[in-house]
Every structure is written in C-alpha cells, then in structure tokens.
C-alpha cells in the first residue's frame, strides 16, 4: 500500500516538451512511473519520449484516462495550467514549478477545490511511492521501500530525512514534498490521515519550517486522530525575524510562525521533535523500538 499514487497511476505531464519537463519526465519513466502522455499547446499529434503529445488536458484525458498531472509549465502560466487540469477532470495535480505568483495560486487552488481536484505544491519536489511511482524531481534511488511515510515542505530535507531513515534499515512508503510557498495544496492535515489509514505505514516523518501555522494545525490534528508515531523537525530555529529564508513562505512575521512555537505545539501533541535534522533517522528507530 501507499498513499495517493502507485505503479498503476496514469500520469500526464503539462509542459511536457520543455527542457525541465522533458528531463524529469524521462527520469520518471526510467523510475517506472506510468507516464501516458503530455500536453504542450500546438504540439498535439507529435510523439515525445515515445509518448503522445496533446494540445489540451481534456484531449489527453480522453485518449489516455490519466488521473494525475505533473506540471512543469513556466511560473506565469501555472495558474492557468492548474485550472485547465481541474476542469478537464484530473484528480491530482503535482505542481513542480517554482516562482508562481501567489495571487494565481489563490485562484487556481480555489478553482481546483471546486472541481474536486487535489493539488501538491507549487515549488516542491513532488511525490514518490518508493520503487513504484515517482512524480517529481527527487533522486529516486534514495527512497527504498519500507514502512515510513514522509511529509516535508523542503526538497533537500526530504532527501536528507529519507536517506537517514533508509540508513537505519527502514524504508519509505510514500514521501510527499508539499512545498514552501505561502499557498500550497495538500498539507500535513490532509496527508497525515492518509498515512494513518495506510496499512503499510508504521511511522511518519514530518518536516516543517518557519512561517505560517500549518505545523500548529498539524499538532492539533495529531493529538486528536493520529495514533502512529510521528517524528518532526522544524527548520529555522536560528533564522532571524522578518527575513525570507529561501522559500517564499519561510518568514517569521513578528512573533508568529517561529520554529519554537511549532516545536512546542508538536511536542505537546506527543510528537518526537528533533532539534537537528541529523537526528531524524535515529528518532525513527527510537519510536519504532518503543512500540
């Protein structure tokens, strides 16, 4: 088992023939992802990476029955691409593109929700179900199959966390990079219950950072409905106030959104909180041995 995607998931790529789209789609295909085609306006009818290209998402779905779209279009066109996917009937859009205007994401996410489409990202590494399906840009070989679910706002911390978990002799069910923008799609509170319900996942690694209050919301949810052990790290304990730390959403505004308040809330909810990401692997071993 896994969450959201597996080896049977049919995936299309929006922005298929562009440089980034091509490179990563090829890597995904090599990993085993069932990429059934792509969308690039005015290139419909062509073949790319041996897969059919369509002019619109609607055409692509009709011909391939795809349910998931991986989006690589340039930032200014992300909102449009997400709304197109939503109206055409895509069930999950994984938005990799970095630098999408916040206003566009507000509109696009609201529209996606209205049409029942889930979104992941933008500005994220994507989602991977170990040794089955990779929809994104993460290095596949780090994610060995196992029993740990992982959710992270940061790409490289996803790799760091997964690598440590695997080095301890465990592995990953599904890892989801949710992105660090001010407005993102699926977040902790939607994904944690999925891991709770997944029979293979035995423990969860949750990686957050300064800014916003998604981690505080997660703490409340964990207290109420998550019975599996959770290990958490919050990046940015040493970040200065009022400065954006790389990710557009990673900013401490006044006294809100600090790492400290998030760590305290999670600890109070029974989460094993580590002070350094170097401790993630050990902490997972610890909580699983206690069980």
């Amino acid at each position: 088992m896994s969450i959201l995607v597996n080896k049977d998931t049919k995936v299309i790529v929006q922005g298929f023939t562009g440089k980034e789209g091509s490179f990563h789609a090829e890597q995904c295909i090599a990993y085993g992802t069932n990429i059934v085609g792509g969308v690039t306006p005015n290139k419909g009818g062509q073949k790319h990476l041996d897969k059919p290209v369509f002019n619109t998402v609607r055409e692509a779905i009709k011909a391939t029955q795809a349910t998931v779209s991986m989006i690589f279009v340039p930032p200014a066109f992300v909102g449009d691409a997400v709304m197109e996917a939503a109206e055409a009937g895509i069930e999950l859009a994984v938005i990799i593109t970095e630098g999408a205007p916040v206003k566009d994401m507000q509109m696009a996410k609201a529209h996606a929700t209205k049409h029942g489409m889930k979104t992941i990202g933008p500005n994220c590494p994507g989602i991977i179900t170990a040794e089955e399906c990779k929809i994104g840009i993460m290095p596949g070989m780090i994610f060995k199959k196992g029993n740990i679910g992982l959710i992270s706002k940061s790409g490289t911390l996803t790799y760091e966390g997964a690598n440590q978990v695997c080095n301890e002799g465990y592995g990953i069910t599904t890892a989801v990079g949710i992105g660090g923008d001010p407005i993102i799609g699926l977040s902790y509170n939607q994904i944690l219950p999925m891991f709770e319900a997944d029979s293979e996942t035995e423990a969860i690694v949750m990686i957050g950072e300064i800014g916003g209050d998604l981690e505080i919301q997660a703490a409340k949810l964990i207290q109420k409905q998550i019975t599996k052990p959770v290990v958490a790290f919050i990046a940015g304990q040493t970040a200065p106030k009022g400065k954006t730390m790389g990710h557009a959403g990673a900013i401490v505004s006044g006294s809100a959104g600090t790492a400290k308040e998030k760590m305290e809330a999670l600890e109070a909810a029974g989460v094993k909180v580590v002070v350094s990401p170097a401790e993630i692997g050990k902490a997972i071993a610890e909580v699983l041995n206690k069980k």
Binding site: V102, G212, A248
Partner: protein
C-alpha cells in the same frame, strides 16, 4: 519587494485613494522649494526609508514655517535612522517626503494582507491607529477587525459595512467614505499583486473624510514580471549589498551574526544546517542556498561572499546531491578554492548521487584546510570544532 511611502502614495493617487499632497526631494534646497509649492501653513518632513517606526526614531517632524522645513530637512537628510524595524546599524536617510499637514481628528489603522490560513486577502482595521499593530493584536485583540475578501467575488459592499460597523462609525457619510476607501485600497492590492499594504495611521478628518497619512507596500516578487512599472520602483540602496550580489549568481544569502559560514543546497536543508550548527554549540554566520545547479563558479562566488565577513572562522559546505551529482560539486569546490583564496578550514559533506566518487576526488585533491564530514551531524560537529580552533 518593498517600496517607499512616497511611491506607495503615487500608486494610491492613481486609484483615487485619498492622501495628503506631497513631494519627494533629495536635498535641503528642494525641500524648501517643495514646501513653498505645497503652500503650508504646516508641513511634515518625513524620512524615506524601508522601515516602520520612523516617527519614534526622529525621522518624521512637523514644521510650521519654511525656515523650520529647512532646519528639519537638514537635520533628517543624511541621518542614520534606527527603528525597531531596522538593524542596529540603522539606515541612512537619502530621500525626504515633504507633505501637507493634515486635519487629524482620529487616527485609525487599515491594512490588506494575505491570510495564509484562509488563502485569500484579508482587510484588517482598528480604531487604535498610530500604534504598532502587533502590540494591539497582543494586548487588545478585540480592537482588530478582520474582513476576508474572496478574490473570486472581489470587494462587495457588505465587506465595507463589516468594516464601518466594526470601527464603530455611526455617521452615514463616514460609513460611505470608509467603504469607498477600502474598496479602492483592495483594488490597489489585487491589481498590483501586492503582498501587503499598511496604512498606519489612517486619518479621519474633521469633515469625516479618510486620508492615508502613511503608506507601506510590499509586493509578491514572483509577480513583478507583469508589473514593470512597480519593478522600476525598487530602491537597491535599501537592500543588503551582499544579498544583492549573491542573487546575481542565483544564490540566496542572508547574513547572520555567527562564526561558521554555511553553503548548502536547498532552503530547508540550509536552515536545518544552521540549526544543527547551533545545536552542536557553534554559531552560523549566514544562510546560503546555492540552489539546484551548483557549479564551480557559483560555489566560488559563495565562498567569496561568505569570506567577506571577517567573523567567519570555518565554512561548512553541506550538499545533498539529488539530480545534481556530488562528483561535479566536489570538482566545483576544488576549482573554487583555486579561484578564491580560502583561508579558513572548509568542512565538506557531500551525500546522495555519486557521493563515494566525490569523496575520492576530495581526498586526492590534497587541499590542506579541507576536512571531509561523513554526514550532516559529523560535518557540523567538525565545523564547530574547527571554528573553535580545535
């Protein structure tokens, strides 16, 4: 991106948001000329820097004569203003805004920000104008009125009524005035992809009209491409020179106070590296994300920027190679040490794709002050020890 008060007010004027008349100047002579042109009888001389708390810092003063305008302009222009929003070094005042005095009956507060939880713009208002709104939120949260506006429907009259009644306005003209004011301000926010607009204080005049006495605006950097007029308002002298230099090379840099320079790929891991150094008893000197495509040139530039800081006693390079291969980065580091004179110990931790090959390359390079870290924890520990001279 943030802009100055005078620039925000230029934008307000375009949308019909009432502001006092004013002129931006860069010399004492022009300040007096501007005052003459405005006519008086009172003027406000305002320092233009990108930080709040200017009044308390002595950067906003009232003048009752042209002579006083001259004296105050001379005093404020060129001063270094320290406020709760600047660094301890403060900011040099290079521009002044000479403004008509306003008829102030009451001072209120009005802002539009992005509510990340609701995922839509939020209008905030308060009767407690002229104060730090964070203090108001903490001490008297009931005095802050919040009205979210769904961009799919835009600003409707009911949004305005919620504001007007929330502020306790009973006079029908005053109600109408605040509704119109807020409606226009919302349009400014949406049309320009603003990240935040803050008017503190918003002034109610004796006639029951509302005027933006101050104006602060920040914009979504990702949307500047479609607003060339706003992108042009960027004042580079207000920004950190090192951060700007780093940005030219695709590096995201923020200076901190510590002793260990950090060079990391990915924002989350970069923060996590700083946290780990701190946890091990060291102090990070900076945040530096080299991004996904680190090469010899960007690594060299990173070293150069980090080493500009005389406090740096060691550098920790922490890379988790994903799509980027570690062996390339190892070669990049070796090249970089040839381009830039690195005179402090460099601790390198390379993990992920082709990490064993990278370790081999670094070992064979025989660079004397290069220390290999096995993992994040080991690398951070070695960096902390090196910075302490151990």
């Amino acid at each position: 991106m943030n802009i100055h008060e005078y620039q925000a007010k230029q934008i307000f004027k375009k949308y019909g948001v009432p502001t006092p008349k004013g002129i931006m100047v860069e010399s004492v002579k022009d300040a007096v000329k501007a005052a003459e042109q405005l006519g008086g009888p009172v003027w406000v001389v305002k320092a233009q820097i990108h930080a709040g708390g200017r009044g308390l810092g002595g950067g906003v003063k009232l003048a009752k004569s042209l002579e006083e305008v001259e004296t105050l302009a001379d005093e404020i222009l060129g001063m270094t203003l320290v406020t709760h929003q600047t660094t301890a070094e403060g900011k040099l005042v290079q521009k002044l805004y000479i403004e008509d005095g306003a008829d102030i009956k009451e001072e209120l507060y009005l802002s539009v920000v992005l509510d990340r939880k609701l995922e839509m713009p939020l209008i905030m208002a308060s009767t407690e104008g002229g104060m730090n709104i964070e203090d108001v939120a903490e001490k008297t949260p009931e005095k802050i009125i919040t009205v979210p506006v769904d961009p799919a429907i835009g600003f409707q009259s009911f949004h305005g009524r919620e504001l007007a009644f929330g502020l306790g306005l009973t006079d029908k003209d005053e109600q109408k005035n605040i509704i119109n004011f807020a409606k226009k301000l919302y349009k400014v926010y949406i049309d320009n992809d603003a990240e935040m607009i803050e008017i503190n204080p918003l002034v109610k005049t004796g006639k029951g009209e509302f005027i933006a006495l101050d104006g602060k605006m920040g914009f979504d950097n990702s949307a500047l491409g479609r607003h060339p007029d706003i992108a042009e308002m960027r004042d580079l002298t207000e920004e950190d020179a090192d951060e700007l230099e780093a940005a030219k090379y695709g590096l995201s840099y923020v200076a901190l106070d510590g002793e260990i320079g950090c060079m990391v790929n990915g924002a989350g891991l970069a923060m996590g590296t700083m946290d780990t150094i701190n946890y091990m008893g060291g102090t990070p000197a900076n945040f530096l994300d080299v991004g996904g495509s680190a090469n010899a040139e960007t690594v060299a530039k990173g070293f150069e920027i980090i080493l500009k800081n005389p406090k740096v006693k060691a550098i920790f390079v922490n890379i988790f190679g994903g799509i980027v291969r570690c062996d390339r980065i190892a070669n990049g580091i070796i090249e970089a040490t040839k381009i830039t004179d690195v005179n402090v110990p460099v601790i390198v931790r390379l993990d992920g794709t082709n990490a064993p090959e990278a370790a081999e390359i670094l070992k064979n390079a025989k660079i004397t002050n290069l220390i290999v870290g096995d993992d994040l924890g080991d690398g951070a520990a070695k960096a902390v020890a090196a910075a302490k001279g151990e």
